[in-house]
Each structure stands twice: as C-alpha cells, then as structure tokens.
Symmetry: C2
Subunit: 471 residues, 2 copies
C-alpha cells in the first residue's frame, strides 16, 4: 500500500467533508470492536456516506488509489468480515443510509436502505399488519446491508428462509463505482444470471449492497409456542418429522437446547423462572403460526400425538405473551450465558437434518476425548440442521490455558465430524477472516477456483473487503 | 469456426464411440424441433454421453477445438436456449444421464441426474410419501437439467418456489471440463459465493448441470380445489390477499383464466364438461393443500367469506379426483387450445402482484388498439404476478398476414406496459435466443455488463451455448 493513513483522511475529507470522516484512531472504537472481541486491527479511516452517490464516490476514489474498503452495517458479525484485516483499510459505515424507501403491502415488499436497523424494519412492517420474518438475537443493532451481505439466518429460517430467500432484489455499488440497479418486486424474473444471490452472502467482497427489496408476509393472528421435554436428539428427529408433515409451512421454529443451558441461565439469573415443564435431558422450543381466521390448537393436537407415540416426556404451552417471551429468552440467551462460565469454544455448523443426532452424539464424545471435563452446550436450529456446537471450559479451569490448549484441537475434532456427515463448517455466520484458512481446507477446489475467478473479474484491483472469505 | 462438421463427428466418435454420436442431419429431428417451431437451425452433431466423465471429455474437446456446445434436456424450452443458433454447434443430449442417485426422506432430498424426466422424479418422490413440487405442463418430457438451467416455474411456485428455490445443490461441468461438486443436503451453508444460484437459470452458458440435490416436501393428505366466478382481476387481487392471510403457505395455486379460454376449450372438445359454476367474465382456479391430520375446509370457509364480501359471484369445489383433474386440465390446456384458433402472439411476463389488474386492463386495450378484433387471452399465475399475456388472431384473419403485421407491434406494446409497471419481460421462460435483443434493450446496463464479465471469466472461449442470453 502506497497511500498513508494521513493522505487517505485528507482525500476522503476533501471528497465528503470533515463531518463524514473519522481519522482519529481513538474515535473508531465502535467500528472496530466486534461482538466476540477476536479481531484487533485498526483502520486507516472510517467514513459515513449519506447518499448512494457518496458511496459511489468513495469506491471510485478507492479504486483509483488502490485502497481497500470495508462496508459495515451494525458491526454485529461473528467472523470478522466487517472489521479490518490489514490495518490500512477504510471502513464505510452504512449507518446514515437508513431510509425505508417504501412499504408496499399490496406488492408484499419493503424497500430498505443498507443502514436500516433490523428492528426498525420489523416495526415498519408491523405498522402495516405484515411481518419481515428475519429474526435474530442482534436485531436491535444489525443493519439490512450487513444482514444481506452475510446471508443471515436466525430463528425463523424454517418457515421463511434465510436472508437470501427473503430478498427480492438488491441495489449495489460495484468495484468500479457503478450502481447496479436490481431492486424489484417480482416473484418471478428469468432475465439473466442471478446477480442478487451472488451479492447476497458475498460479505462485501463483490459489491456494496446499498438497498434491497425485502419480502413481507401476512402477520399471523397469533402463535402457539411450547417447550417439550425430550430424551435427546434421537427423539427430536421423528418429532420434527411428525410436525412438518402435520403443520407444514406454519412450523416457524424447532430449536433444541440441552439441560445445561437451563441450569446456566437459572444460576446466573438470566431467567426469573423456569420456562420448562421440569427437568429433562433436552428441551425443544417449538412454535407454530396461526393464520388469520385459521385453526387453533394444531400444535397442541400434534404434541398430544407425539406424547402418545412416546416421543416426548412432558410439555408446557405459553399461555400469555409473557410466557412466550420467557421461552424465547431461554433460547436466545444461550450464547450469552456461556460467557458467565469462563472460556467457550464455538462452532456454527450444519448437517443434513437426519444427521443431527449423530453430530451431537459424536461431538459430545469428541469434546470429552479432547478435553476431559469440558461441558458440551450444543443448541440451536434443529429444523435447519444448524447446531451451534458450543463448549464451555471445565468448571474451575483457567480460561486462557484452556483456550491455548484446546481451541484448535476442538475445532479440528468437530469439523472432522461435520465434514464426514456432509455438513458445512459455517451454516449462518459466514467466513469473514475467521474461517479463511478453514475454507481453503474443506471447500471443493473447483468451487474455490470459480469463486476466485468471479472475484478477480468483478473486482480486479481487489479493493472490496480485501483478504476476506477467499484470503 | 475452423472445424468442419465431418471432422467434429469423427473426433466425437473417436472420443465416445459411434453409438453416442449422431452426425446425420436427418436423424437429428427430435433434438432440433422445439415446441413452438420457431427455430430451424441445424447442428454439427448430437452426442449422448452416458457418464459425467464423458461430459467432461466432450467439454475438454470442445474447449480445445473451439466448438460451441449446447446442453439439452427434454427439448421443451420455449425460447430456443436448447437448440442451435449458428448451425455449427454440438448438442449434448443429457438424456442418458437419467439416474436418480438417492431419495433420502429423512434429509428431505432427492439427488437426480440431469437427464431424469420430471415425471419420473415425481414418481420417485411419491413412492416415499413425499412430493417434489415442480409441476408444469411439459413434465412428461422435461428433464431436471433443463428445468434447472432455465429456472423453471409452473403452477406450484406460490407455495414452493421455482426451480432455483427447490434446489439445494448442483453438480456441473464447467467450461474447462472440471467438475464442480456442489451437491449437498444442507438447508444452511454460508461458505462462499452462491454458485448454485448462478448456475441455475444460466441456460447452459456458464456450466453444464449434471446432477442436483432437490428438496422434497411432505405429501399433503389431500387438496381442496375450487374454480370461482369472478368479475375480473380487480376482484381477484383482494381475494388473493384474503386467502394469503388466512391460509398462508398452504395456498398452492391461484390461477386466473378469462372466459374466452373456457369457450375455446368447450368448442374444440378439450373438455368433456364445463368445470366451472357457469358462465363468468373470469375464473380463478384455487388450490389449498391439507396437511396430514390437518384442518379440512379452510378453503371452503375462506371462499364463503369472500362471497359475503362480494369478491366472487359463485364457486364450485372439486368433489372427486376426476373433478380436480378436469379443473386443472382447463388451466393447463390454455396455451395449447389457442393453436386451434389460428395464429397467436404470446408474452410470458410478470409484474408486482398488485399491478396485475392494471397490466391486464392496459394490455387488453393495447391489443385492441394495435390490432382491432384481436382476442386477448391473458391467463396464468396471478399469485406470482406472472401472466401469460397471449392473444389469438381475429376470427377469420389470415394467420401469416396477421403475424407479419402485428407480432412485433404487439410485443412492443405489451413490453412497454410491463416495464412501466416495474415488471419482467421473461417471468419463467428465460431468454434463450428469442429475447436476446429484448434483454439488451430493457435490462439495467450495469447488470448486463456484470453478466458479460462473469460469462467471459468463466467461459473465456465462449464455447458454452454460444450466443444465447447475452448474444
């Protein structure tokens, strides 16, 4: 890199004005510190464009100057895609591009700019009696652009799909500064290559998403929510199949949590009361939407059948919004509560649904083999085959020594099982900088080569999020 | 092109054996004659590989020789993507690669080779009490590879999505002969660019799909099917919204047909009896799936509400499989019956759903303005915003004179309305060779440039389906 940070700040200030540029490292904190505190590299500058034209101007400047640029939304990503890798990059915060351009209930779409916070998108949809069903723990700060660039998942993928499937069209600034206009409200459009899905999930390495047309859905009249007591993942699988056959697309969530997760939350005061029907080796949080004027009690009836078939031991149904909220908090606090129990080692993996029981059994055994006394805390989106295969250190162990000794070994053990089962080493969090080396090891070499070819063709100078995903 | 057809046949015969090569133009008929008989160019040869390795060998040979190759499935495409444009190309029939490699009901997937006929995929799924819900009129001859390459739609897109959304992973031979291995049974996999969706819908211009992992769904217990009498598309829109809010994902189909379609079918003996509740300006064919053990009568109840709200005039429900079959025949024969009424001019277009009434009103008016006496026959997938905006010549007109005078003018008039409404000039049939010039006129120039960049990067010699889609 031939341009100094001082020059970069001067040039960007000339381009955008002083108010849109942060050059002082001490003021960059919120743009650099990501949730898991794994990455600690500085940036040459942070810029905050307030129009698409300014984004285009920044990209054109970066292309001419050969400076790396990183589009950033709410800075909630878990793999370091949205923070610097080298230290000489410019972060483009999309936070000021936060306009909801249109909510069109007749077309069933919302057009939102990249900087719109997910919770604000939810509110705008609900104000029109519709829902935008991308729901995840970070929705109070995650922004649309980052959610799409990372193809975010969350707890509603089962019924509605991930971010890619919730997007009808995108607008993006490409590496040469041109604006790709792909916004539309069309359910069907077979006029050329699928550029939308190429940009969604590309982690800012192929273009900078500036706005998107998002799919809205009718707001269900209400939900039936239950937590069932279940012996283990082996029983969860036929239960899931039973529900899928009886309830189909209204099955919103099927989440699995082990007993240790409940214990941790009660111990650390994360829950004011036990949301389950009593102690059980495992719990499944299940939710079904009731459409307007639709049948009530279909989950209750299916759960009764499951009980008769011996698939579950007990169940409790939410009888109020407070009940439902408590049940969901139990699920959503799973990752956070682990921080109260010392060091943790985490894996966001997926396998074919039928292989989830084997993944969990073998993963627990591998943990115990690699690090005796380790506490396995696998939980998550059973209905998507997506398990957050987390571990907490043995009680009383030294966190740093534990990480130094076991982090790498445990990754190897878990990923080996995942790959053997035909799974993915990144189900919903992406590659970023955390999994670049891993991707090279596990991905089909032809796929890697195709990805590099596309990257080079669309960003020949390598200015878009350099080093991320493909290294 | 420097290689003669005779040399091509000799070299391919040396590569694959004489039984796998057709060099005699007289024997190529079924590979050249496509459904609408619009394209009449010959091929240098037709080859029929019986293994992926043979496909790879053909592509490597083509790459070295600089010969254009066209992957072909059931030859049912409507835009000429699967037949020659120049006359010096080699057609690769995928018909012998027709193995269903696996049906995994626990994972909810089927892995099928490119040459599998759609009806055979249906049968394999149903044998395991599941469904593969890609349903369209040509399913008795269309093959998986072509259906994916064209991102086929059909009558179930409303509930299940188009071919792209029904595909979990693909295997493909790329322009350099390498095999991309992207088959998987994962609902979530965020490990890199979305190569699957780039290949699906690329009409054989970026790679040759050789197999795919397809999504299976629980087989509904049964269906509720109705044809309602409705004043017009303006009333169909609130009816659709009512059903979507009350029935959600179980709403399988919402198809619109004008009265002239019923008249034509009764006149020409396409129907043995009238499947409707009596004459009406328009009809909507609506179908809802009932899940196993699920509520019956939800469509009946919603239709009663619609009747009370004055949205519909009458309705008839299928009371037997024969009734249901007759109702669907009425819908599916719409395109074919037009051939009995002289020349027809057809447009496969989509608009945002809310704009369908305006599209139909303005399209009918434009038809009458351009060609007085012309008979508008717009019908199709209202629920997807996808209307087959067809016209039949005025009664008694000379077909050839009619086409010569009005074909181009009517296209212009309809596409102008579609584009004004933010629509697509090819909703589900694709671009092929029919709409190459149209695409250049109407597509975002940045999108076109991105598509060309990707094409050049992945197929630098331009051997894959040359001239199609991008010209």
């Amino acid at each position: 890199m031939s341009v100094s940070a001082a020059t970069i700040v001067d040039q960007l200030t000339a381009l955008l004005g002083a108010n849109a540029v942060i050059g002082e490292p001490g003021q960059m904190g919120i743009y650099l510190h990501e949730p898991r505190k794994r990455f600690h590299t500085g940036a040459a500058a942070v810029v905050m464009p307030s129009s698409i034209e300014q984004v285009q101007a920044i990209v054109r400047w970066a292309n001419a100057a050969g400076v790396g640029i990183i589009a950033q939304g709410g800075n909630t990503g878990l793999v370091g895609a949205q923070v610097p890798l080298r230290g000489d990059e410019v972060i483009i915060s999309m936070a000021k591009l936060d306009r909801i351009r249109a909510v069109d209930t007749a077309a069933g779409t919302m057009t939102a700019e990249a900087g719109v916070i997910l919770e604000n998108a939810h509110a705008a949809a609900e104000a029109q009696n519709t829902i935008f069903p991308l729901w995840l723990a970070s929705q109070g700060s995650a922004r649309i652009g980052g959610l799409l660039a990372s193809n975010a998942g969350g707890v509603n993928v089962l019924a509605y799909g991930n971010a890619r499937e919730l997007t009808m069209g995108v607008e993006a600034v490409m590496a040469d500064g041109q604006r790709y206009q792909g916004l539309n409200s069309l359910k069907k459009d077979n006029t050329g290559y699928d550029l939308r899905d190429l940009l969604v999930g590309s982690e800012g390495t192929l273009g900078i998403i500036t706005a998107a047309t998002l799919k809205l859905f009718p707001k269900p009249e209400d939900y039936e929510t239950t937590i069932v007591n279940i012996a283990g993942p082996e029983a969860a699988l036929p239960l899931f199949e039973l529900l899928r056959a009886r309830i189909g697309g209204r099955l919103n969530a099927f989440e699995l949590v082990p007993h240790i997760g409940l214990e941790m939350q009660l111990k650390h005061g994360f829950l004011d009361s036990d949301p389950t029907a009593g102690a059980s080796p495992w719990y499944a949080l299940i939710e079904v939407a009731r459409m307007q004027g639709g049948e009530a009690g279909s989950l209750m009836s299916a759960i009764e059948t499951a009980f008769e078939q011996g698939l579950i031991d007990n169940a409790v149904f939410a009888e109020s919004l407070a009940d439902r909220t408590r049940m969901w908090s139990f699920r959503e606090q799973m990752s956070e509560v682990q921080s109260k129990e010392g060091a943790s080692i985490k894996h966001d993996v997926s396998v074919p649904i039928a292989a989830v029981p084997q993944l969990i059994a073998e993963g627990i055994a591998a943990g115990e083999r690699v690090s005796p006394g380790i506490r396995a805390v696998p939980f998550g989106h059973m209905g998507d085959g997506n398990i957050h295969f987390n571990f907490s250190q043995p009680e009383g162990a030294d966190p740093k020594a534990f990480m130094a000794e076991y982090d790498e070994k445990l990754h190897e053990a878990i990923y080996e099982i995942v790959l053997k089962l035909g799974g993915s080493v990144s189900a919903e969090h992406g590659i970023g900088q955390l999994k670049v080396d891993l991707l090279k090891q596990v991905k089909d070499p032809v796929a890697l080569s195709l990805m590099r070819t596309i990257k080079t063709a669309l960003d020949p100078k390598g200015i878009l999020n350099p080093g991320k995903m493909l290294g």
